[in-house]
């Protein structure tokens, strides 16, 4: 809850925004007193404010929600560094949470944000992150409806952590889940994989290397809505290949559906820059986290239509049919390699890439 900011916030208006870039976060900014109010009023509300958030109650109230199935998700973001090519922890936190709702077939109703800040964190950095949250939320067309701020000691929390929760309304025409995945269905991804994790790892581990790789972090709810509008239950499964990457997703899908998942290596879009970076870092691009990708299983007869929709959207121009569901029903995930072999794709064991989301 961020209820403690005083009521007059609305009246003071934007004239009050004094961008004090030299200011740093102090413990008292998390104390729930006047300084917390000031932080919310000066740094948060002017950028994220809306009719629900501005009420600053113990709970945000979303009025007149019709009868529905409700989706809820939560994710913690502890990425290091908090800023990387193409994005930052703010963009990541909104995209990740919106995408978790969207791949569940839900339209986001609102997001809740919890900031954990270290004493000494720069006010201008917080402003940059809040701006990024505002921009990403606008892209997704979703509101931040409530939040909380805590401040911990200097040197704790790596500067900033953000935990984002989201609620959404499940579309009535969305029926997705591993149990609907059946032989003959096609697997589609909306673009090249591996770029988020690689962009973060290069920034952190090899700052001397110049690379064109940028995070793919983006909210996919509008793209997914277009596909569902067109083919509805023709989509049988959706998931975002974050931690564990495409390999983790597909091996989980095989297990959970008890179906054979077969990927076609040459069809998996990967930039050559990603291959090189992964090789330098000793990583497999298929195991690397993405933050703007969705893998869909679709009925074979709608695959062309889905591909057309994806490719006509900036977030899907490099979409590809990457595999299909086989008839073996053995819960295995295999990949057909470029040279014509087959290998089993396993779920990564532990932490291939620490702290990339």
């Amino acid at each position: 809850m961020i209820r403690s900011a005083a009521m007059e916030t609305g009246n003071r208006g934007e004239g009050k925004i004094v961008a004090d870039h030299t200011q740093r976060i102090v413990l008292a900014h998390g104390g729930g007193g006047q300084l917390t109010d000031e932080l919310i009023e000066r740094r948060v509300l002017p950028r994220l404010g809306n009719n629900v958030l501005n009420e600053l109650l113990d709970s945000a109230i979303l009025r007149n929600i019709p009868a529905c199935d409700l989706a809820m998700t939560i994710d913690g973001y502890v990425v290091q560094p908090w800023k990387f090519p193409g994005g930052d922890i703010g963009r990541l936190s909104v995209s990740g949470t919106v995408n978790d709702l969207a791949v569940s077939g839900a339209e986001p109703l609102g997001l809740a944000l919890s900031f954990i800040l270290a004493e000494g964190f720069a006010g201008k950095d917080l402003d940059e992150i809040v701006n990024s949250i505002a921009q990403t939320a606008a892209e997704a067309g979703v509101k931040i409806i409530t939040g909380d701020t805590k401040v911990v000691g200097r040197g704790q929390a790596d500067g900033i952590y953000i935990v984002t929760s989201g609620v959404g309304r499940v579309r009535r025409d969305a029926k997705v889940g591993p149990s609907r995945v059946k032989p003959g269905q096609k697997l589609i991804v909306n673009g090249a994989v591996g770029e988020h994790g690689l962009a973060v790892m290069l920034t952190r581990e090899m700052p001397e290397v110049t690379s064109v790789l940028r995070t793919d972090a983006a909210p996919l709810n509008k793209l997914i809505a277009k596909v569902l509008d067109a083919v509805g239950t023709g989509v049988t499964f959706m998931r975002d290949p974050t931690r564990g990457g495409l390999a983790g997703l597909c091996s989980d899908l095989a297990k959970q559906s008890a179906q054979r998942v077969t990927l076609n290596e040459v069809a998996i879009p990967i930039r050559s820059e990603s291959r090189h970076a992964a090789e330098m870092l000793g990583l497999d691009p298929l195991e690397i986290a993405n933050e703007g990708k969705v893998v869909m299983a679709v009925e074979a007869e709608v695959a062309d239509r889905v591909m057309e929709i994806l490719r006509n959207d900036p977030l899907g121009v490099a979409a590809s049919v990457i595999g299909e569901i086989g008839t073996e029903a053995d819960g295995r995930c295999e990949i057909l390699t470029e040279i014509g072999g087959r290998r089993v794709l396993q779920k990564p064991y532990g932490e291939q890439l620490p702290r990339i989301c």
Copy 2:
């Protein structure tokens, strides 16, 4: 999301729970791979599992929610130390989030939990916290429906942070908010104030002192439901006096309602042990956080009925009418002191008690 635990969890059942108390959290427990699955399967699901959580999807799905106003809240918990007399960070995180929903007039539909763990955190400590979460959720009659786990470096995150989000359905007979607070209404609190913050501060700052003080952290949703069942819109305002304490709550209420709030010092329940502890620590008990208290404004004609209900519940035995709304309508909060004087109650400026929630 904690979707990555494999499907067979349900089949393995409780026989698989090996309480390896020597085990410590490693970075890979947060990597989204097999080790994350194992953490969820062995340490979380056996204690918190339910039909929604066990599906481990990207989003939890709550089916067939009727048309309603929806409440959503989020709070980060960074209390130090994580265990203190009468409770721990787990009890706190569930109570605080349930109470934020309840004081908004909402019945909780489900909670989402995000763990941020430091590498090296003891598995047995995590087990203890998860058990405490399970017990508190059972007291409240609310389910943990989704979650997330991240692991950060050794020495970060003070061992453990928990962020909890909750969604609830607003009761149709609940109409609470500062705008409904009017002259003549009574202010009621369900028991003695100051004990949570003092119990934590004594543990942290004066471990050599033995005290009977314990946290009051408790979920109040059932108590509040009893009151609303009986008097409905006779309750005009509710809030939990957490950070900023009773003083912060009442000064905010005066401002937000633009009414005069008058507290009667002798009527405010405070244990003598709390007075002594506050004196030792140089603190004002009225500014200290509570985690099992609610302040209600009620129409004068239902005050006796509300007091009767509260006093017949273990969580309200020490309930008291602590003040009323005056006719001055000046947005000030005054307190009538024991010796017959009057002073203005101000909102605490910053962090009187760092890291107590």
